[in-house]
C-alpha cells in the first residue's frame, strides 16, 4: 500500500471510531451516569468514549501534519508474470478482497450446509485464490484436512463443529 492510501486509511479508521463513539453517546443516554455512590452503566463507556475522541483527534491531526511534511517515496513493485486468463488476472489483483468475501460466504455456507461441505468448498476456493491449483494436491489437502479436523474435534474430543440447516 502506498503512503498516500495508508495515511487516508489512518484518518478513515480514526473517523470511523469517532463516529462509533458519538453513536455510543446517544445510545447510552438512556443509562444512568453516576448516581450517588453508584457507578452507572453509562459512566465507563463515556470515559472511554471521551478518551477515544481525544486520541482519535490527535491521531488525525498528527497524520494530516505528516501528509503535509512528507515527500512520497514511491516504491516500484517488481513486475510479476501476468496470468494469461483475464479471470485469473482479476483474482490476483483483488485477492485480499476476494478472500474476505469468501470468508463471508463460508459463514453463510456453514449456516446452510454444515462444517464438512462448507469447509471443503472454502478450502478449494481459497487455495484457488492463492494460486495453488493442481487438482490432485488440492483434492488431497481438502479431503485430508476436513477429515482430520472432523475426526480430531468431533470424534476424538467430542467438541461440536458448526452444523447447518440442511446437514
Amino acid at each position: 500500500m502506498d503512503i498516500k492510501h495508508k495515511r487516508a486509511l489512518q484518518i478513515g479508521i480514526n473517523i470511523f471510531f469517532i463516529c462509533i463513539v458519538i453513536c455510543m453517546f446517544f445510545i447510552s443516554s438512556k443509562y444512568a451516569f453516576v448516581k450517588g455512590i453508584h457507578l452507572g452503566a453509562r459512566t465507563f463507556p463515556v470515559i472511554v468514549g471521551v478518551l477515544i475522541l481525544l486520541f482519535g483527534t490527535v491521531n488525525i491531526i498528527v497524520t494530516i501534519y505528516k501528509i503535509k511534511n512528507e515527500n512520497e517515496s514511491i516504491t516500484k513493485e517488481e513486475p510479476e508474470l501476468e496470468p494469461s486468463n483475464s479471470f485469473n488476472k482479476y483474482v490476483r489483483k483483488y485477492r485480499v478482497g476476494i478472500s474476505i468475501g469468501l470468508m463471508a460466504l463460508y459463514y453463510i455456507f456453514l449456516s446452510l450446509f454444515g462444517f464438512v461441505i462448507a469447509t471443503a468448498l472454502f478450502l478449494v476456493s481459497i487455495l484457488y485464490v492463492m494460486e495453488y491449483r493442481k487438482p490432485v494436491p488440492v483434492t488431497l489437502v481438502t479431503i485430508l484436512g476436513v477429515g482430520l479436523i472432523y475426526i480430531s474435534f468431533k470424534v476424538l474430543l467430542g467438541v461440536p463443529l458448526p452444523t447447518g440447516l440442511l446437514f
Binding site: 500500500m1 495508508k6 486509511l9 489512518q10 479508521i13 480514526n14 471510531f17 462509533i20 463513539v21 455510543m24 447510552s28 443509562y31 444512568a32 450517588g36 455512590i37 453508584h38 457507578l39 452507572g40 452503566a41 465507563f44 463507556p45 472511554v48 468514549g49 478518551l51 477515544i52 486520541f55 482519535g56 490527535v58 491521531n59 498528527v62 510479476e80 485477492r95 485480499v96 478472500s99 474476505i100 470468508m103 463471508a104 463460508y106 459463514y107 456453514l110 449456516s111 462444517f115 469447509t119 472454502f122 478450502l123 481459497i126 487455495l127 485464490v129 492463492m130 494460486e131 495453488y132 484436512g145 479436523i149 474435534f153 474430543l157 467430542g158 467438541v159 461440536p160 463443529l161 458448526p162
Partner: protein, 496 residues
C-alpha cells in the same frame, strides 16, 4: 511439610498417578496446540474419566492437562500466529517474528524451557508457601483489583511500538469493546441491541483469534505469491548457554509475577502473560528487540502464564476459591471425587494434596521432555506450502471461535476482529493494546464500581490500604519511567 511432599512424590511414582500425569501433559499439549480448545475445556472434557480412578490419579491427570494446555497454546502462537489459548496472546508478539526469521525451533525451545522453569518455580511456591500467599491474596479487595487493572493498562506503553498515542487509541478501543454486555454493577443490559448473544459481552477467544490469526491469514493471502525462504522451514531446536542465561532472570521474575497474579482470584493466565511481557520489556537490556523476535519476549510471558497455573491453585486448595475458569472446573472435579477444598483438606487428606503438589512439580519436568521431543514435529508445519498453512489458519480460526461456546455469533465476532486486526496491521497501528483493553476493562470497571460502593464514594480508600499504596507506587514509577525514557529517546541523536 517437606516430609508430606516427599510422601507425595513416593505416592506419585509408586501408583498409576505418574503415567496419568504424563498422559495428561501430552493430551494437554495437543489440546493447547489446537486453536480454540483451551485448558479449561480440556479439563472439563476429561473430568468424567476421573470418576473411574482414585482421587490422586484423577487429579494428577487434570494437573497435567492444565499445565500442558497452557504451554501447548504457545506452539500454534509461534508457528501459525494463532494462539491456541488466550494465555498465548502475549507469546505471539515475539514468538511468531522469531519463527518468521527462521528460528521456529529456537522459539519453541525457549517457550518450553521458560514454561517448565516458570511452572516449576510456581509449583515450588505452591507446595511450600501456599497458605502464606493465600493470606495476602484474600486481602485483595476492590481497590486493589482496580489498581492491578490500571497497572496492567500501563503495559500499553510497552506494546505500543513507535507511537504511544496510537497505542492508547487502540487500548481504548479494547476498553470500548469490553463495555458490551450486562453492566457489572447495575446489571443493566448495555449495548446489547436486544440480542442474547451480547448479554455476556464479547468472548475473549474469538477476538484474540480474529485479531491475531485471521488478520494474519488475510495478510498471508496478500503475500501468498512470496516464496518462503528455505531457512524458515525447519531449524535446530534448542538455545545456546549464553541465550539461556540472558532469559533466565526474566523467567524467574515472570514466574513470581505469574504465581502472584494466579493467586489473586479473578485474574488469569492471560493477564499474567501480558504483565510478565511488559515487565520483561521494561527491564530488558534490549527493549528495541521486543516485537521483532526477542527471546526474552517469548520467555517472559510463557514463564508467567505457566507459573500462574500453580498460583491459581493456591486459593483453590487453601480457601476453596477458584481463581479462574480452569481452577473452577478442577474444583468441581475435586467435589465430584468427594473432596471438600479448603484449609481442612490439608489436615484431612494430606496424602492427596501433597501428591497433587508433587504432580505440579513433576508435570513441568514431563512438559520439558515432551515439548523438546515434540518441537521438531511441531516445527515441520512450516515446511508445508504457504497457501496450505494460510487456508488452514482460516479454518482453525472458525473452528476455534465456534467451539468455545458453540456459537455462530462468535464466528462473526472473530471475522470482524480479523478485519480490524488486518486494517490495523496495514496502517501500522498496534494490535496488542486492543487485547489489553478487552482483558482488563471488566476488571477495572466492576471493581471501581464496588470500590465506590464500599467506600461510600470516598476515593481516599486507595491511599488507606497497604497493598493499594504499593500498587500506586508501582503505577507512578512505571508511568514516570516511561515519560523519562520518552524524553531521553527524543534527546538522543537520531539515526539517519
Amino acid at each position: 511439610m517437606l516430609g508430606y511432599l516427599g510422601n507425595g512424590f513416593i505416592h506419585l511414582f509408586t501408583t498409576m498417578a505418574a503415567p496419568a500425569l504424563l498422559g495428561g501433559v501430552i493430551l494437554g499439549i495437543i489440546i493447547g496446540v489446537l486453536p480454540g480448545l483451551t485448558a479449561t475445556m480440556g479439563i472439563a472434557l476429561l473430568i468424567p474419566l476421573t470418576y473411574y480412578v482414585s482421587p490422586s490419579i484423577g487429579l494428577s491427570m487434570l494437573v497435567g492437562i492444565f499445565t500442558g494446555g497452557i504451554y501447548g497454546g504457545s506452539v500454534s502462537a509461534i508457528l501459525l500466529k494463532t494462539p491456541g489459548t488466550p494465555a498465548a496472546g502475549a507469546t505471539i508478539l515475539d514468538g511468531n517474528p522469531l519463527a518468521q526469521k527462521g528460528q521456529a525451533g529456537k522459539a519453541i525451545a525457549i517457550a518450553t524451557i521458560a514454561s517448565a522453569i516458570g511452572g516449576l518455580i510456581g509449583a515450588l511456591i505452591l507446595s511450600l508457601l501456599a497458605p502464606q500467599i493465600a493470606k495476602i491474596a484474600v486481602r485483595f479487595g476492590p481497590p486493589e483489583y482496580v489498581l492491578l487493572g490500571i497497572y496492567g493498562l500501563t503495559m500499553i506503553s510497552y506494546v505500543s511500538g513507535t507511537s504511544l498515542i496510537r497505542g492508547l487509541f487502540a487500548g481504548c478501543i479494547g476498553l470500548l469493546i469490553s463495555t458490551f454486555g450486562v453492566d457489572p454493577i447495575s446489571s443493566v443490559p448495555r449495548f446489547t441491541f436486544g440480542t442474547l448473544n451480547l448479554l455476556t459481552g464479547f468472548e475473549l477467544l474469538p477476538i484474540l483469534i480474529g485479531i491475531f490469526a485471521m488478520s494474519q491469514a488475510i495478510e498471508g493471502v496478500k503475500n501468498s505469491r512470496e516464496v518462503m525462504p528455505p531457512q524458515a522451514k525447519l531449524t535446530k531446536v534448542g538455545i545456546s548457554l549464553q541465550e539461556f542465561f540472558r532469559i533466565l532472570p526474566h523467567i524467574v521474575k515472570s514466574a513470581f509475577i505469574g504465581t502472584f497474579v494466579g493467586a489473586v482470584p479473578g485474574t488469569g493466565t492471560d493477564i499474567a502473560a501480558f504483565l510478565s511481557y511488559g515487565e520483561a520489556k521494561r527491564s530488558s537490556k534490549y527493549p528495541e528487540e521486543f516485537g521483532k523476535g526477542s527471546i526474552e519476549g517469548v520467555a517472559a510471558p510463557e514463564s508467567g502464564n505457566n507459573a500462574c497455573v500453580n498460583g491459581a491453585m493456591i486459593p483453590m486448595f487453601t480457601l476453596g476459591i477458584p481463581g479462574e475458569a480452569a481452577t473452577a472446573v478442577i474444583l468441581g472435579g475435586l467435589m465430584v471425587l468427594g473432596l471438600q477444598p479448603g484449609p481442612l483438606l490439608f489436615v484431612d487428606k494430606p496424602e492427596i494434596i501433597y501428591t497433587v503438589f508433587a504432580s505440579t512439580i513433576t508435570s513441568n519436568l514431563f512438559m520439558i521432555i515432551v515439548g523438546i521431543l515434540g518441537a521438531r514435529v511441531f516445527a515441520k508445519v512450516l515446511s508445508l506450502p504457504k497457501s496450505i498453512i494460510v487456508s488452514f489458519i482460516f479454518i482453525f480460526s472458525v473452528v476455534g471461535s465456534y467451539s468455545m461456546r458453540n456459537s455462530m455469533f462468535d464466528i462473526i465476532v472473530m471475522m470482524c476482529s480479523g478485519l480490524l486486526g488486518y486494517v490495523f496491521t496495514i496502517i501500522d497501528y498496534p494490535i496488542p493494546p486492543v487485547l489489553l483493553g478487552v482483558i482488563l476493562g471488566p476488571l477495572v470497571e466492576s471493581n471501581l464500581g464496588r470500590t465506590l460502593l464500599v467506600s461510600g464514594g470516598n476515593l481516599t480508600i486507595f491511599f488507606k490500604r497497604p497493598i493499594s499504596i504499593f500498587f500506586i507506587i508501582v503505577i507512578v514509577g512505571t508511568i514516570s519511567s516511561n515519560i523519562y525514557k520518552h524524553f531521553k529517546s527524543k534527546d538522543a541523536p537520531q539515526e539517519s
